[in-house]
Amino acid sequence: MSHPSKAAEFLKDQAKSHWHDETLWFVRDKRDKISKSIPEWENLRTIASGLKDYVLNNLDTLLLDFEANAKKNGIHVHWAVNAEEHNQIVHSILEKHDCKAIVKSKSILTEECHLNPYLEKRGVEVVDTDLGERIVQFLQQPPSHIVLPAIHLKKGDISEIFHEKLKTEKGNEDPTYLTHAARLHLREKFLKAKVAITGVNFGVAETGEFVVCTNEGNADMGVHLADVHIACMGIEKIIPRRKDLGVFLRLLARSATGQPITNYNSHFRSPEPGKEIHIVLLDNGRTRQLAREKFKNSLKCIRCGACMNTCPIYRRSGGYSYGSTVPGPIGSILSPGIDVKKYSTLPFASTLCGSCSDVCPVKINIHEQLYEWRQEITKANPDMAKGMSMKMASGIFTSPLAYKISGSLMRKSLKALPKSIIYNPLNVWGKERDLPNPPKESFKEWYKKNRP
């Protein structure tokens, strides 16, 4: 299904879509306030963007540095060219440790690889331990937002799911009560798991350490109780030096939720005696995107979610309308790089308002890339209906005479035709909008008479 039809579906429940819009606007507003409390904010964005440019231009050597330093620290490093390889590597580590139940903290990358179904098919119980992710996991849904995975659900929905899955009281929507129930449920899972999987927010080339940011502390809880920690990391997550974290951590928390700092920024450097740390470095199309000059800086993304919270489309159409692992503006420039046909409507799901680019902490020119993807998509899908009508329009616009005739014809027919014809069901503009009252003459006609 295309973005427009899924968006229209989401908008049918007016009250809920309005609530979704307001909830995410609240997060955007919080981000605005806190970002304005730091005078050097714009400077930080410029530095972060520059650092990420450096990373993308030196990714090969930085990755090798990272690997060498991580190995020195006693970490096992694996390379995965695609999702399949990534999943195989993870599964082989589990097999080696005879592990049938794992806990996982939030990792969009494992969503991208569809790791959960892969492992479940092989008899491994996977428990997502981020509260929002656990909720969507109960519903067998993917996250609808990269930072706030269950943002499309209301308290009542969650109360119902918990009643069914965790036997909480029916109708009790008290957040403290529900969180407490989730905590007890998860604690049991934490204690049982031999292997914990986490994502990676930043991998430091200089030291071979990596940083995982969570608000709930679930990554730490999982990792410290397990014998084996598998960290799944996209190759673009490298930063050169530890001190660069001083830039990125400040931007990330404020952009994501409007907090001054994420509750847990956990640094992992080497395994405790008797334990193991594995890092799986994943490409899965990233080097292909890196080779596309116009689109490569989409890889600068630090997954803060701010472009989703600010996007007037995302707020009103919900994460599922995008049909891709990463939704929203950044998803709309990453996904066509993976499959240009499947995701062909995403770059058009935008008014090119530019709010995403202004909000982005690493200054990705998201809306300009949406514009550029449109140019690519019309080449890849020459049979797009839009192509036909726009071709015709092109004929009109390039010839002043044709333009004049069609314009005045339109004005005249607007006057002459009865409303029922102008607003027929095929006229999409007129379904919920009136057309302008046609004036008696165009500006050009007026000009000829009045400025001869």
Binding site: P4, A7, A8, L11, S17, W25, D32, S35, K36, P39, E42, P312, I313, R316, S317, F348, A349, S350, T351, L352, C353, G354, S355, D358, H367, Y371, R374, Q375, T378, M384, K386, M390, K391, A393, S394, F397, T398, S399, P400, Y403, G407, M410, R411, V428, W429, K431, E432, R433, D434, P436, P438, P439, S442, F443, K444, E445, W446, Y447, K448, R451
Partner: protein
């Protein structure tokens, strides 16, 4: 500005020419009142924006060439539309990027309000005793930086506000969402009809809640969309382009 009267080429976007001649007239008269010599080249056509934004920038070579030829001779090119000016400045096909004629054009095209504040450096004195809600169109705001967008941590400014606040009696309304998109977006208005209309309704609600009397802005395309929804829902809002307000008020 030099002492010589600048010769301004007036660029009137195609839909303004056809549907909103009064906006063209107001822009012309206003610039004349501010001391400019203004000409409207009659063979001008659409700048090609609808095509380019739909993914057919490569088919706008003809219209771009025509535009450069038509407006080459003027000291300045001015249009009452941030969106069309942004297109002319940034989205002509790559073939033109090295051409001197295009580079020159890029340096002399202005949206109407920025031309008045930045080139003419004029203040407009007059009276307009009405309660005004301003719609910040996105391409003007974030493309041409006609104001500070709320996402950025920069000192607030807004060129339209600067002009309107000089008018006696004008009551400027601060909106809750000062610069959220109205949902027009060119072909988006049709290809994502449901979203487009919802975004428009939400924008209108912000103005209505604050008892705005006249909704104004710098892009008639957004206003056409908002007015279309408002009139269908019989809302008590009036709509004017900022050129119409300034031209009516100026003494």
């Amino acid at each position: 500005m030099s002492n010589q009267t600048p010769h301004v080429g007036l660029f009137i976007p195609c839909y303004v020419d056809q549907f909103y001649p009064n906006v063209g007239i107001a822009s012309l008269e206003l610039l004349e009142k501010l001391g400019c010599k203004v000409s409207y080249p009659q063979n001008q056509t659409c700048c090609g924006q609808p095509l380019a934004n739909s993914g057919y920038e490569r088919d706008t070579i003809g219209s771009s060439e025509h535009f450069i030829k038509t407006f080459g001779e003027f000291d300045y090119v001015v249009a009452p539309s941030g969106s069309c000016i942004m297109h002319v400045k940034e989205h002509f096909p790559p073939e033109f990027l090295d051409q001197n004629a295009y580079k020159e054009l890029q340096g002399k095209v202005y949206e109407l309000t920025e031309f008045i504040t930045d080139v003419l450096k004029a203040e407009i004195k007059g009276k307009f005793p009405h309660r005004i809600g301003y719609h910040s169109s996105c391409h003007g705001l974030r493309g041409l930086r006609l104001g500070a967008s709320t996402e950025l941590n920069v000192s607030p400014f807004n060129k339209a506000k600067q002009l309107l606040q000089g008018l006696d009696g004008l009551d400027w309304v601060e909106l809750t969402r000062k610069d959220e998109c109205c949902g027009f977006g060119g072909t988006f208005a049709v290809s994502e009809e449901a979203l487009s209309v919802q975004m428009g309704k939400d924008r209108l609600a912000d103005h209505l809640e604050k008892d705005v009397e006249i909704l104004t802005g710098g892009d008639m395309s957004c206003i056409m969309h908002l007015q279309g929804i408002s009139s269908r829902n019989k809302q008590p809002l009036k709509f004017m382009h900022i050129a119409e307000i300034l031209n009516q008020a100026i003494q």
